[in-house]
């Protein structure tokens, strides 16, 4: 399945609300899929494209907050706009801490809803792109030999080849060879780029 545009997933146990929201979101130009419960949504195949969740907080069975937790634990990147019958402070705080884009109170203001959906879709795209970058860097890191990884970790801290050689107990020339291999494998054109990549991949090691 190759969706053409962003998909908004509506999850609400109330049939009228679910149907009407799906219509509105669709009329605003999004693809829409609607679900009556968290379980139904989770039963759907994993979705990795652009989109967002329009999620009711309180539902029989698993709540919207439960779904947020489940998605986070599974490292699935799909931003959430919560909707609720009555904004209670505790669940809105929980939702926002959990990374929700917005927490809207029913009945829904059209502008606020569509703005929130736009932001959520954007965030999903950003997060997915970010995740793509991190994955790429991690894949590169995975190709390094243990010695190259050691050298990489020390290079990005700004140490000179000489210092690195002394610390690792190898010759300066050997360090130089490893360093060139690291630059190549990490596809970095400069030391600055390599340092940035190290940050993306979560690789900055503390100086021993």
């Amino acid at each position: 399945m190759a969706p053409t545009g962003p998909v908004v997933f509506v999850v609400d146990d109330d049939a009228s609300v679910r149907k009407s929201l799906a219509r509105l979101v669709k009329a605003a130009g999004y693809e829409v899929e609607a679900f009556a419960s968290v379980g139904d949504f989770l039963a759907r195949a994993h979705f990795e494209g652009p989109g967002c969740l329009l999620l009711d907080v309180r539902m029989p069975g698993q709540t919207g907050l439960d779904l947020q937790e489940t998605l986070r634990a599974a490292e699935r990147r799909l931003s959430i706009v919560f909707i609720t019958g009555h904004g209670d402070v505790r669940s809105s705080v929980t939702a926002m801490k959990g990374g929700a884009v917005d927490f809207l109170t029913k009945p829904l203001d059209e502008e606020a809803l569509l703005t929130a959906i736009r932001q959520a879709v954007r965030r999903t795209i950003d997060e997915q792109a970010e995740h793509g970058r991190v994955t790429a860097v991690r894949n590169c890191v995975a190709t390094l030999t243990p010695r190259e990884a050691e050298v990489f970790a020390l290079v990005v801290t700004g140490m000179l080849n000489k210092q690195i050689g002394a610390q690792l107990g190898i010759g300066e020339k050997t360090v130089k060879v490893h360093r060139a291999r690291v630059m190549e494998k990490m596809q970095a054109g400069s030391l600055a780029q390599l340092v940035r990549l190290a940050g993306t991949g979560g690789m900055i090691a503390a100086r021993a």
Binding site: S20, A27, A28, M59, P107
Partner: protein, 802 residues
């Protein structure tokens, strides 16, 4: 002793018997010390009270002659007055006194009577009577845990056979669903109450047993006067009420039995004849006799340790014929071997109990016999007259019995019937019952009867038209005249004019008085011709007046109660609305959200180049549906808030429970409660007020929600079930998985303002009970074996309301 007391109490001509009995009692006093040549054996009787209670007299009457045939035993009695003892200080003083008194006397045997005396003895034995053997008597140990009697104590246990009494009561009154147990605050009261509770525990689930322990007598009497028909009263003991007033059991039992709206059962033979129906009764004489036998053996040198404690003796099924008749209970249903006393009950007994004091009866008897003596005409004439009197008395007795039974709408019918029968008997043309308003400013003729062929009587007569008559009646005086001319010429001038205008020739009017306040009048008038009113008839009419007065005041109380119930139900609804706000907001929000989103969607669709009109049509239809849904929510709320009078119709409880469950569905989600419905299809209808029953179910559900507040999420289950039990009742049960009911709260959960919740008013379940009972049903609460509680109600089916 009990029969002696009943003789004097009820005013039977028993003065001589009383005198003889008193003399006999006095002659039985301790023997004079002068006769004792060698030191007598000393036996000390310890009584818990400071009064000559009938039970104590019975025990002592049995012990004294058995122990002291030759005057070789010196019997000391100590009245510990434990009913009054409320502090340790008092008990210390008693101990000091006893120690002083018995320091120089060698006591051979102690006989504690009743459990509080035994407890006192065991507690202070080492200090007071070290090493002295003891034989106790009439001590109920059924509910006493961890009592160590030691090796030189034996005695006779007081049996508690409440199970047998309740079984007998259930056989006599199979409709019984509830029992109210009455006891006081003295140590004896508490001991006997605990024993009763111990005995009655096994009836849980079959009979709803409520303990009215330690209340002030006034409130207690009010409470027993308003008990519903399916209830019985079990009288345990009331030697001291909560306000500290002291009673003897016969006094207390008489008060309770007189006030009670339902039959009273008891356990002691000393209560028989004082208004109880009966029961498995214990004889204190027998207790005393058995204890005396043990005492004689101990004094003869046997060690108490070798004499086993006698377990309960001297009980028998005993009943009072007059009470059986009063309550319409069949002797055919008495347990085998029952002793039925007071079989010679006269007509007086039938209605004399609750309506007239002993004094009035004595006067009435005197009038009757005087009337017989001075009868001037011949023997035949006198016999006729006697027959006439008997018929009249029978009539009165029947009226009294009828009015003690009927309530609600039947009262009006019975009053009219009574007016007709009395008018027939007295051969009068008009009979009228007038009720005065509570401020005594206006009067209203509420019931009347006019003899056939007579002009109809005025049903509205202003106070101003008969001012003198009204003034007399208000003072409590009877107005009687054979000719209008007998009325005072000046003071009653207006009255005379009115009576002449109306054509009233003779009249007798009797004030209806309740607790000194005149609440109305009963009048019999002759229109066709003059007639005389014989004293004896007027006397009896006054008795009838008392019956009417009682009936009317009871009905006023009932109406007041009904008004109160409606107010309560309204208050309950309004306060529940507060609790429901969150739920209602949720319910309204859903359709409103859908309507708005649909409208916004349709606007976008119409803005587009090619609007899909089929889609637009579908959306608009949905908007209409959601709008309807929203107004239904509001309609439900409005119907709920309506403070109406009772509107009874045939109600399908399954449908109603389903409706209320939908009403709280939102609330259930908020509270993470799962509601499960098991609704029986095709239930017979319940004739009831729909709105009130919705209130009942709602309160029970909200109660269940609250009970599960602290339960683990995922284990908050509420099961609503309806069923038909096959005995003409529909039952609804609300089963929660919450914290259950604390044992201490079990008897009180339905009491008004009784709450275990910090933020509760304590009205919810009280409203439930009052509404259900007003519908002739009953409510019950019990804990589930697996945790949580089940509240259930049963409502009678059918078209006729109670």
């Amino acid at each position: 002793m009990s029969s002696l007391m009943s003789l004097s109490k009820h005013g039977r001509p028993g003065g001589r018997v009383l005198l003889v009995a008193l003399l006999a009692l006095l002659c039985g006093a301790p023997s004079s010390p002068a006769r004792v040549v060698r030191p007598a054996r000393i036996v000390v009787l310890l009584y818990p009270e400071a009064r000559l209670l009938p039970e104590i007299l019975a025990v002592e009457d049995a012990i004294r002659p058995a122990l002291d045939p030759d005057g070789e035993v010196s019997l000391y009695t100590e009245y510990l007055d434990l009913a009054r003892a409320t502090d340790e200080q008092y008990e210390r003083q008693v101990i000091a006194l006893l120690r002083e008194k018995y320091a120089s006397r060698r006591v051979d045997l102690i006989m504690p009577v009743a459990f509080p005396a035994l407890r006192f003895f065991l507690s202070h034995r080492a200090e007071l009577f070290p090493g002295v053997p003891a034989v106790f008597c009439a001590a109920n140990l059924d509910a006493v845990a961890g009592l160590d009697l030691g090796s030189d104590i034996t005695g006779v246990r007081l049996p508690s056979e409440w199970g047998a009494t309740l079984d007998a009561a259930l056989a006599l009154q199979p409709e019984t669903r509830r029992a109210v147990v009455i006891s006081g605050t003295s140590a004896t009261d508490q001991n006997l109450q605990a024993a009763a509770a111990h005995d009655l525990a096994r009836y849980r689930g079959r009979v709803d047993i409520r303990y009215l322990a330690g209340r002030p007598i006034g409130g207690l009497l009010d409470e027993v006067a308003a008990l519903p028909k399916d209830t019985i009263v079990l009288f345990v003991s009331l030697l001291r009420d909560q306000a500290g007033r002291l009673f003897t059991d016969p006094e207390a039992v008489s008060l309770i039995a007189r006030a009670s709206s339902v039959p009273v059962y008891s356990w002691s033979a000393t209560h028989l004849g004082h208004g109880i129906v009966g029961g498995r009764l214990t004889s204190f004489e027998s207790q005393g006799t058995r204890a005396a036998e043990l005492a004689v053996r101990v004094l003869g040198g046997e060690r108490p340790g070798t004499l086993p404690v006698v377990d309960g003796s001297g009980t028998a099924y005993m009943f009072d014929q007059r009470q059986l008749r009063r309550w319409g209970l069949s002797t055919a249903r008495l347990p085998a071997g029952s002793i039925v006393r007071y079989q010679d009950a006269s007509l007086w007994d039938l209605y004399g109990w609750n309506i007239v004091g002993a004094g009035a009866l004595v006067v009435a008897l005197a009038v009757l016999s005087t009337g017989l003596l001075i009868e001037r005409t011949g023997r035949r004439r006198a016999e006729l007259s006697l027959g006439e009197r008997l018929r009249f008395e029978t009539l009165l007795a029947e009226q009294a019995a009828t009015f003690s039974r009927v309530s609600g709408p039947d009262v009006d019918r019975e009053i009219e019937r009574a007016l007709r029968r009395m008018a027939d008997f007295l051969a009068v043309d008009w009979s009228t019952l007038t009720e005065y308003s509570e401020d005594s400013r206006t009067a209203r003729v509420t019931h009347w009867w006019t003899a056939e062929g007579m002009d109809p009587q005025p049903v509205a007569l202003g106070f101003g038209e008969i001012p003198w008559t009204v003034a007399q009646l208000r003072r409590g005086a009877t107005v009687r005249f054979t000719q209008v001319g007998e009325l005072p010429e000046v003071e009653a001038a207006v009255d005379r004019q009115t009576y002449r205008r109306l054509g009233v020739k003779s009249q007798v009017a009797i004030p209806l008085t309740v607790e000194g306040i005149v609440i109305g009048a009963l009048a019999f008038s002759a229109v066709a011709g003059e007639r005389a009113w014989r004293d004896e008839f007027v006397q009896r009419l006054q008795l009838l007046g008392e019956v009417f007065a009682n009936t009317l005041s009871r009905r006023r109380a009932e109406m007041e109660g009904q008004r109160l119930r409606q107010d309560l139900a309204h208050i309950g609804r309004v306060s529940t609305v507060g609790e429901l706000t969150a739920s209602l907001a949720h319910e309204l929000n859903q359709p409103l959200t859908a309507i708005l989103a649909n409208a916004q969607a349709v606007r976008r669709i119409l803005d587009a180049d090619k609007a899909d009109l089929v889609e637009v049509r579908a959306i608009v239809d949905d908007i209409v549906d959601d709008d309807k849904r929203a107004s239904e929510v509001i309609g439900r709320l409005r119907g709920f808030l309506k403070k109406g009078t009772l509107e009874r119709s045939s109600v399908d409880m399954s449908e109603l429970v389903g409706q209320v469950a939908r009403l709280v569905a939102g609330d259930a989600v908020l509270r993470s409660v799962g509601i499960r419905l098991e609704l029986a299809p095709d239930l017979p209808g319940v004739y009831a007020d729909r709105v009130q029953l919705q209130q009942v179910i709602l309160n029970l559900i909200l109660n269940g929600f609250d009970a599960m507040r602290d339960s683990e999420v995922g284990r908050r289950d509420l099961l609503l079930r309806t069923a038909c039990d096959g005995t003409g009742s529909v039952t609804v049960t609300v089963h929660d998985s919450g914290s259950g009911i604390e044992w201490a709260d079990v008897g009180h959960v339905f009491d008004a303002f009784y709450t275990t919740k910090a933020d509760g008013l304590g009205m919810g379940l009280a409203i439930v009970k009052s509404i259900v009972e007003a519908h002739g049903g009953r409510v019950e609460a019990r804990n589930n074996p697996e945790g949580g509680a089940t509240f259930s109600l049963a409502l009678p089916t059918g078209q006729e309301g109670p």
